[in-house]
Each structure stands twice: as structure tokens, then as C-alpha cells.
């Protein structure tokens, strides 16, 4: 029993060591030639643009539900006028970035894990190398950068669609106007409320991209290995993202003296 536990612990340490070295290699190669702009733009389109419908729909639903819950709570205190402000704070500071991160982790993490895993087991990565292409820069670095660039933009989209969903839910009940609702929502938000939580999603993007690329790029064992890489990409990048969020929130509080997320 003890031996098994120690072996598992050793495996886990080895795995994390491998992931850390992989992430370090991504950072080292971030700014080195060749930059692979064409592939990068393609990946920003795939990862960012193609995730937009999912983000907008989820944002509308989350915003509407949050608004309904907020109303039922604030009504007890006669503070219905605070609903847009409360919803804006909840979305911008925490809910928007975290849900956008988790949604991208599900959609993109699985995609990267499966795509790179499939390329590995069918020797397409070897084929790239044999054609004098640096597969790490071409496949891994471009996908990670695309995640880092896309996540903040998708978070902004999530926040806006969340507020819109909240507005729809609120206007049905109270008849609040669009201008009143959004003016109230944004009036209390300051730079330190908005920017740090949005910027922190760049770290979410790095975590999702590097974890899923690591699992896919090093996949073994045929179709089963590809499936495993895909599933683990979603599970592990989601867990890492949630854990990193706790640390980043504390860090933002520290930097912005309690004014941040």
C-alpha cells in the first residue's frame, strides 16, 4: 500500500516536472523566430472566434439567472435599484472570467489535447519534423499564444453578454430601460475592478493551452491514448485554472489594496 502510494507520488512529481519544463520551454520560445504568424492567426480564429457563440449564449443565460437570484435577494432589503450594479460586480470581478475560462477549457482544452494527440500517434508530428519544421513552435507555441490572446477578449464578451442577459431578465420584471440599466451597471465600476480580473484570464489561457498541449504532444497508445489526452486536458486544465484563480485573486487583492477582484 505504502509502496503504491509512493510510486503514485513519484509519478505525479515526475508529471508536474515534465509539465513545468514544457511550460518553461513555451516561454523561452515565445519570442524566438520563426514566429509562425499564419498558423497563429489560424489558431486565434479557431480558439477565439469559434468559441464566441458558446461564450455569448452562456453569458446570456448566466446573466439572466444571476439577475433573477440577485433580485430575489435584494428585494428583501428594498434595494432593487442595486441589481445592475451587483450583477456588474459579480460578472466582471469573478463570474465572467471564471466561467469563460472553464468554458474555453472544456471546448479548446479537449480540442488541443485530441488534435495534438491524434497527430502524435499517427506520426504527423514526426512528419512535420522530417519536413524541417519545428513542431513545438508550429503546433504548441501558436496554440498557447492563441489561448493567451483569446481568453481576455472572450471574457469581455462573456461580461457584456452576461449584462445583456441580466438586462433582459430585469426589464421583463421591472421594465427598466436599456440606458438606465447599463449606466447604473457601469457607474460604480473602476479601473481596478475591471482590468485585473480580465488580464488574469491571460494566465488562464496559458494554463489551458500549455496543459492540454503537453498532454496531446506527449500522447502515446493509439486511439485510447488520444481519448485519454483529450479527457485529461479538460479535467486537469479546469482544476489548475480553479486553483490558479484562488492565488491570482489573492495576488490582485494584494496589488490593488483590496480594490481588485
Amino acid at each position: 500500500m505504502l509502496v503504491k502510494a509512493m510510486t503514485n507520488a513519484e509519478d505525479a512529481i515526475e508529471w508536474f516536472g515534465g509539465l513545468s519544463l514544457f511550460a518553461g520551454q513555451i516561454l523561452r520560445k515565445f519570442f524566438r523566430r520563426p514566429y509562425e504568424f499564419t498558423e497563429l492567426l489560424k489558431q486565434i480564429f479557431e480558439i477565439g472566434w469559434r468559441s464566441a457563440p458558446l461564450i455569448v449564449l452562456s453569458g446570456l443565460a448566466v446573466g439572466a439567472v444571476l439577475s433573477m437570484h440577485t433580485r430575489s435577494t435584494l428585494e428583501r432589503f428594498g434595494a432593487e435599484s442595486m441589481i445592475p450594479t451587483a450583477l456588474a460586480f459579480a460578472l466582471v470581478k469573478e463570474t465572467g472570467p471564471l466561467i469563460a475560462g472553464l468554458l474555453v477549457s472544456g471546448r479548446v482544452g479537449a480540442g488541443i489535447g485530441a488534435e495534438l494527440g491524434g497527430m502524435r500517434v499517427t506520426e504527423q508530428i514526426d512528419a512535420l519534423e522530417s519536413l524541417a519544421v519545428n513542431s513545438f513552435k508550429y503546433l504548441v507555441v501558436t496554440r498557447v499564444i492563441a489561448c493567451v490572446v483569446s481568453l481576455p477578449l472572450l471574457t469581455v464578451l462573456m461580461n457584456l453578454s452576461g449584462l445583456l442577459g441580466g438586462f433582459f431578465a430585469e426589464t421583463i420584471v421591472s421594465g427598466a430601460s436599456f440606458t438606465y440599466y447599463f449606466n447604473t451597471a457601469f457607474s460604480s465600476l473602476s479601473f481596478s475592478d475591471y482590468i485585473p480580473p480580465t488580464v488574469k484570464t491571460m494566465m488562464f489561457g496559458f494554463i489551458i493551452g500549455s496543459t492540454s498541449a503537453y498532454l496531446g504532444y506527449n500522447a502515446t497508445g493509439g486511439a485510447e491514448g488520444v481519448g485519454r489526452a483529450s479527457t485529461q486536458s479538460v479535467v486537469l486544465s479546469s482544476i489548475f485554472l480553479i486553483v490558479a484563480n484562488v492565488i491570482l485573486v489573492k495576488f490582485i487583492f494584494f496589488l490593488f489594496s483590496g480594490g481588485g477582484s
Partner: protein, 257 residues
């Protein structure tokens, strides 16, 4: 057995070679002190049973794997001493045809062939498409430029893989199991293509196969690998008269069929 590839180079223009190369994966030794040399412009066939280390030898020649010990010589240089830029530069002169063809399944067959041209030449789009189309046409795939790799048959995929490897006019062509999973007629067509490539392009070919009939047709010299050891090396006739019983059995096993 002709061992020293550097010596071979002085004799008759050795393109590539192994000098006491060993390679293991964990506790499993795949190649043990393997040495051979291949003269430029010839076809060298690596024979052996499945799991004998043939494909590993091919990947070592392209620098996709690193030898644990010994030297892998390509164009007179030890591939282990090359930095990543030099290795990339060397690979631009090497074509690799994978057993599974390893076509990029997210782009069309034509774009697979055009891929190395887009990466390594300054040619315009129209010229690259024209060149890719012309290579595909020569290999009987002229109609398949816009087809996706998943829509091709096994033989067509193999030819498409060959077309991609030929796109940058390599001086060294590495071919892994060209007849694996193919019917005898398609297999013979692939053999004809390899013979044509050697004669028309004066390329050096290293072909891995366990198909002795195919090996007899295309090989200038051949070697037999088993359990990581090189049991025999020479011409077809020399291997037929090898004193090693396993080599003899292998050479006779598929003679009729």
C-alpha cells in the same frame, strides 16, 4: 559487412551510414552496434521481421530519434553533432515516406504536397500549386489535389506521402514499408516509382521492408536486421548465400509468393 561509413565515403561517395549505432527504449534494446554504409545514388534495403528495429534505424537517419551511442552519418556529417538549425537544413534535403503516410489530415492532399514548398521556397502561390499538382499527376493523383487524406485508399495515401516527400527534390529518400497493407499490383507500382526516382533524380534511397519480393526488385544492396543486430549485409545474391540460417530462411520464405 562494410562497416565504416567514413571509409565508404572516400571509396565511392557514401551518402549515409551507421557506425556502431545502439539505441534502447527503457530496458528494451532495439539496435545494438549496428554499422553499414550506403553509397550515393543507390538503393539500400533494410530487411527484417516486424519489431527488428528497421523503422527506428530510419528515424535515426532523419534525426527524429537520437542514438544512445555510435554515429549516424548523413551527407558526411554526424547528425548528433548538428544544432537545431543545421539539422533543419539537413532535413530539407531528406524526404521521409512514413508507413502510415502521415499526411496532415486537416488539409487537402494537394496542400500536403505544397506544404514543404510553402515553407522552404519563396515561390508564389500559383507556382507552388502548379508544382504540387504536377508532382501529384506524375504519381497518378492529379485528380486528387482537393481531396482530403481520409478519402484516399491505402495505395493512394502511400503515393501522396511519396509526393510530399519528393516535393523539395530530396537527395536522400527514406521509405518505411512501402508495400505494407497493399495488394501485389499496387505494391509493384510503388516499387516502379521508387526505381524511377532513383534513376531519374539520382537520389539515394533507404527502404525498410519485410517484403522480400519488393526488396529484390529495388535494392542495390540490402541488410538484414534481427533483434537489434545486423546479421548480414550485401547484394541480393550475397544475402541468398548467407551462412546465417535466419537470413536464408527469410530470403527463401517469400521467394515463391
Amino acid at each position: 559487412m562494410s562497416g565504416d561509413p567514413q571509409a565508404g565515403q572516400k571509396d565511392g561517395g557514401c551518402a549515409i551510414g551507421f557506425d556502431a549505432v545502439s539505441k534502447s527504449f527503457g530496458s528494451r534494446t532495439v539496435l545494438k552496434d549496428v554499422s553499414f554504409s550506403v553509397a550515393a545514388g543507390t538503393t539500400f534495403v533494410l530487411l527484417g521481421r516486424s519489431g527488428a528495429g528497421k523503422s527506428v534505424a530510419l528515424k535515426l537517419l532523419c534525426g527524429l530519434l537520437r542514438a544512445d551511442s555510435g554515429s549516424v552519418i548523413v551527407n558526411g556529417e554526424d547528425i548528433a553533432t548538428l544544432d537545431s538549425n543545421q539539422l533543419a537544413s539537413t532535413r530539407k534535403h531528406i524526404g521521409f515516406v512514413f508507413q502510415s503516410a502521415a499526411l496532415f489530415d486537416s488539409i487537402s492532399v494537394g496542400e500536403n504536397v505544397a506544404f514543404p514548398l510553402r515553407r522552404h521556397t519563396q515561390k508564389g502561390d500559383a507556382e507552388i500549386r502548379g508544382q504540387a499538382h504536377s508532382i501529384l499527376e506524375k504519381l497518378g493523383l492529379g485528380e486528387e489535389y482537393d481531396s482530403m487524406p481520409g478519402d484516399l485508399s491505402g495505395g493512394m495515401r502511400k503515393r501522396a506521402g511519396l509526393a510530399r516527400a519528393l516535393a523539395v527534390d530530396p537527395s536522400l529518400l527514406l521509405v518505411d514499408e512501402p508495400s505494407a497493407g497493399l495488394d501485389p499490383i499496387t505494391s509493384a507500382e510503388i516499387d516502379d516509382l521508387l526505381i524511377d526516382i532513383k534513376t531519374s533524380r539520382h537520389a539515394t534511397l533507404v527502404v525498410v521492408t519485410h517484403n522480400i519480393q519488393s526488396a529484390r526488385r529495388i535494392a542495390d544492396r540490402m541488410a538484414f536486421l534481427d533483434g537489434g543486430h545486423l546479421l548480414a549485409e550485401g547484394t541480393v545474391k550475397e544475402l541468398e548465400h548467407s551462412e546465417d540460417q535466419l537470413v536464408q530462411a527469410f530470403m527463401k520464405s517469400q521467394q515463391g509468393g
